[in-house]
């Protein structure tokens, strides 16, 4: 089974040289730490920055320089600042190659829910609805099951949707899956996890073809 860092490391392998990438809050933010050295990747922060760098050294925090999670950050050489309309303009115009975000539920047709639990949590969608509606490629980082051991990979989302038919790939603590026209297609198992365990944890339609390899994580 993967921990959060394992999920982030596995997702980092999906990033290709030359990509512009938007990372959501939570596990997706960790992905930045595992992008292979020497790879040219530009991180977009939707509050208005291309070329996001690591956290600042203590004492060098700048209140004017934050990421979409409101954390203090730095820039890398070649970065640029812009306003929120341009930021979502480049997202809407599909200039961003890859969006990585978290989810509460994903359905086997690619629907995603991650912004509201009626009666319990009202935080808002932030930029998530814009991102999922326009992204060329969306990878979701999430837990396969909730605390009550119920699947979060469903036939149909039960929570209010963030976007429809948009998720392309999911990485959980148990598996890597593609979202296809036929349903969730199992690609890889987490170390020590059996196909049977993944089957039991997946409520939505699961396609298993041939031997499913164990994922390789450095």
């Amino acid at each position: 089974m993967l921990d959060k860092i394992g999920i982030a490391k596995r997702i980092a392998k999906e990033i290709k040289d030359g990509y512009y990438v938007n990372l959501g809050i939570g596990i997706p933010t960790l992905v930045a730490n595992y992008i292979p050295q020497g790879m040219n990747v530009v991180l977009q922060s939707e509050n208005g920055l291309l070329g996001m760098g690591p956290f600042p050294f203590e004492g060098e925090e700048d209140p004017d320089l934050i990421n979409a999670g409101k954390q203090t950050i730095t820039t890398v050489p070649g970065s640029s600042f812009f306003d929120s309309a341009m930021s979502f303009g480049m997202i809407r115009a599909r200039k961003v190659d890859l969006t990585i975000l978290g989810a509460m539920e994903v359905a086997d047709n690619g629907d995603i829910a991650n912004w509201k639990i009626p009666g319990k949590m009202v935080k808002g969608m932030g930029g998530a609805m814009d991102l999922v509606a326009s992204a060329k490629n969306i990878i979701v980082a999430m837990q396969h099951v909730n605390k009550a051991n119920e699947s979060k990979l469903l036939t149909k989302c039960t929570l209010p949707l963030t976007g429809v038919k948009c998720v392309k790939k999911i990485v959980t603590e148990l598996a890597v899956l593609d979202v296809t026209a036929q349903g969730f297609k199992l690609l890889e198992r987490a170390p020590g996890i059996s196909v049977e365990q993944i089957k039991n944890a997946t409520e939505g339609k699961l396609i298993i073809e041939g031997e499913i390899p164990e994922m390789i994580i450095d």
């Binding site: 050294f57 004017d64 979502f88 969608m125 932030g126």
Partner: protein
Amino acid sequence: MNKTVKNAEEAIKDIKDNSTLMLGGFGLCGIPENSIAALVKKGVKGLTCISNNAGVDDFGIGLLLKTHQVKKMISSYVGENAEFERQLLSGELEVELIPQGTLATRCLAAGYGMPAIFTPAGVGTEVAIGKETRTFIVDGAEKEFLMEMAFDADFAIVKAWKGDTQGNLVFRETARNFNPMMAMAGKITIAEVEELVPAGELNPDHIHTPGIYVHRIFQGVNYEKRIEQRTVRVR
């Protein structure tokens, strides 16, 4: 054309109860601290506030929530404010949550003189309920879009890094965020700046918001610029 006013109190003096205000900023970054404090002091009530976030309990728009001056919030993310959540669940506060890009672009539309925009954000979700949709061909495939209306705000209140007496504005780093498009969108736009300079001192090539959009400008005082999530790495 001199747009200078003395201070925040003077800049906001004609904001009346039940006004619709745009307030710039993302989280606590680039918020008009002086004007918010003046609004609290003035005690105007029944405000509709268009702002990406609602501040935190004791700073930013949170200060206006605490004093029950806000009737309605139009925001994209409000997760950092416990008082906000309490007022929302108890029904004291009306809230409209909209996607962040939709919020930015509805401001932009107002400043560009366009009545509406089409966006795919929210299609198939509860955001789309009651809204007109249209299908366009994008990259050779049909795609559905929602029609979203330009905002209509009585006042826009923004924060810039530098400004000149003509109302030209320059923003700094990610404190730019919603400020430029809100500055364009208000019927009356109030800009507070960290440094106000005479006309001619800013390089015209470096202006982010031309002064035509700005009606009143003043140099703010005692900026706290509070950090919401202080994250650092070890040396």
